[in-house]
């Protein structure tokens, strides 16, 4: 008890204030100035910017390490290098943990980890979203096993909270080594372009262990994860942009899985017609067009927040609102790789669909997809296993699901992009839709292979048979005749019908999930 001073109340108040100010000063003025020079904020400045003014309450400010080895008994690490607490973001409760790089470089020690995992447990218990602001030089090796174990507490806490509360990681500084499993296991990672780094090991470690020479930027920067690995969902320009993007994302989410996503007042006519859709689709099925303007015209006020924008670009996903309701949009991009579903596109869409389902966000698919990608490269890397993730995601989902078949809806991609059989509540097709088991040229060349081969004029016979198959099946009519398509619609009515369907399905989320037989979970092809 030697640290506790005696004395009068005034003396005790003064002592308290001194200690408190020391912690609030983080790593000190010089260290913070250095950050400002690089265009970065301190951990406390970030939290101040993130939360509504005056709403942040800190928890665990006084926590400190207990290891004494390697000089740690004399170490001064304000708040253990991580500021944790709760406050309001646009009036809604959110819990956050901000790593402080100025305090022993934000290193992750036993009590740093304990603060983080405790904050996540707190958020889960309250049913409030959790946000981590990652900025740490890595493991505090001086603490040995104590550090290692606290990684595990963090992972366990966040995994237990997964699916109960939305969890977002803001990669504003480095996060390298085993610690990087923390951001990657959150629902969303927003990475700051110049300063955010993530990876299983940094360049120095990679060089000593494998001989590979690579820079930190190339190995762990935004391109590595937003473009190549598909582990960063959104790229931000700087600290403020990162925090703003996080706030925007939170605006689409409910606070937890028992609540509905917040519906806002809609200033865009829910029945608005979109005349240009009636002439949008090219005459030749081989010609691509850009899906982005189409998505933006369908959703409220053209506002679309894209997820995984730079990854697996043949597929598109993101959040928007329809008549004020948050929805998840799932689509294809005919301009990129024909809008095909390859391994990466399947992973991208499946993870997005499952997040939406976990948090009661209705799904709308806008389909123009020729197929799952074929060929040895895709087969050997497991396109079937990855494609299966999409099927599981749709079939397991209990949120409202509405599909618009714009053009191609062929083969496996027919259910991979949502159809009735896999769980859609409503499917509408444009008259331009081609909904069938396979494209006419492939089908005709298989069914009539012998006839074409033995014909006097094989080319002519082939062309005639392709035309026949195309006229019979490459349309929305067979599917609509069987009831697999609810209606073939005027393209200009797309927004109207999605909104009417969402109205009808308003109560679905309360009903369907609980009507299912009990099981732990489905055995999705991971």
């Amino acid at each position: 008890m030697s640290e506790v001073t005696g004395g009068t109340t005034a003396e005790r108040m003064e002592e308290w204030q001194k200690r408190r100010e020391h912690i609030l000063a983080q790593g000190g003025e010089k260290a913070i100035e250095k950050r400002h020079a690089k265009g970065q904020m301190s951990a406390r400045e970030r939290l101040e910017y993130f939360f509504d003014p005056g709403t942040f309450s800190e928890i665990g400010m006084w926590v400190r390490n207990r290891t004494t080895a390697f000089g740690l008994d004399k170490a001064d690490i304000p708040a253990e290098g991580i500021v944790t607490g709760f406050g309001k973001v646009n009036g809604r409760d959110v819990v956050a943990g901000a790593e402080d790089f100025t305090s022993m470089m934000g290193t992750f020690g036993e009590y740093h980890g304990k603060k983080l995992s405790t904050a996540i447990d707190f958020a889960k218990d309250k049913g409030w979203p959790f946000v981590t602001l990652n900025d740490s030089a890595g493991a505090r090796l001086q603490e040995g096993m104590d550090t290692l174990e606290s990684y595990g507490w963090t992972f366990h806490s966040q995994i237990q909270a997964s699916g109960i509360i939305p969890q977002i990681s803001l990669l504003m500084g480095p996060c390298l080594g085993g610690q990087a499993y923390h951001p990657v296991m959150m629902d969303f990672v927003i990475q700051t372009r110049e300063t955010g780094f993530m990876g299983i090991a940094g360049p120095a470690f990679v060089k000593t262990q494998t001989g590979e020479k690579i820079s930190l930027e190339e190995l762990s920067g935004w391109r590595s994860h937003a473009v190549k690995s598909g582990q960063t969902h959104i790229v931000a320009e700087d600290d403020k942009d990162c925090l703003d993007k996080c706030k925007e994302l939170l605006s689409f989410f409910p606070s937890n899985n028992k609540e509905r996503p917040p519906r806002i007042e809609c200033s865009d006519d829910p029945e608005r017609e979109i005349p240009e859709f009636d002439t949008l689709i090219p005459d030749e099925p081989t010609k691509p067009y850009n899906m982005y303007p189409l998505i933006k015209k369908v959703v409220d006020n053209g506002h679309f927040v894209e997820i995984f924008k730079d990854y697996a670009k043949s597929a598109i996903c993101g959040f928007a609102r329809m008549n004020g309701r948050p929805v998840g949009i799932v689509s294809n991009q005919p301009l990129v790789m024909a809008g095909v579903l390859d391994i990466n596109a399947c992973d991208k869409l499946a993870r997005f669909i499952r997040f939406c389902d976990l948090f009661n966000i209705p799904l709308v698919s806008l389909t123009d997809c020729p197929a799952y990608m074929i060929g040895s490269q895709q087969d050997w890397n497991g396109i079937l296993r990855h494609g299966a993730k999409l099927l599981y995601s749709w079939a397991d989902a209990s949120v409202p699901m509405i599909g618009i078949m714009i053009r191609k809806s062929f083969a496996g991609a027919h259910y991979g992009m949502l159809d009735k059989s896999i769980g859609a509540d409503f499917i509408y097709a444009w008259p331009t839709a081609r909904v069938t088991i396979v494209g006419a040229d492939t089908a005709a060349s298989i069914i009539f292979a012998r006839e074409i081969r033995e014909s006097e004029n094989p080319k002519e016979t082939q062309a005639a048979r392709i035309k026949e198959f195309s006229e019979m099946y490459e349309s929305p009519y067979q599917a609509a005749q069987r009831g697999y398509i609810d209606d073939i619609i005027w393209p200009h009515d797309t927004r109207k019908l999605i909104n009417r369907s969402l109205d009808v399905l308003d109560k679905k989320w309360e009903r369907d999930f609980f009507a299912r037989p009990w099981r732990k979970y489905s055995n999705i092809n991971l």
Partner: protein, 72 residues
Amino acid sequence: MEEIMEAPLPGKILSVDVKAGSAVDEGDMICTLEAMKMENPILAPIKGTVKEIVVEAGSTVQTGDKIAVIES
């Protein structure tokens, strides 16, 4: 900086829109690749000069085959 452009999927080159030495803007058409029954525009990822163009109309490419090199 050099950007090596690779075929994103296997298919046949329908047409080539640039020559070695052509100046290109980001997003300019380099060539059209027919694959999965679609004409896929292959666009310049950066602004620069075409240093090398490996394919010609009619070439068959596999995923990852070099199409062109753009130098900025």
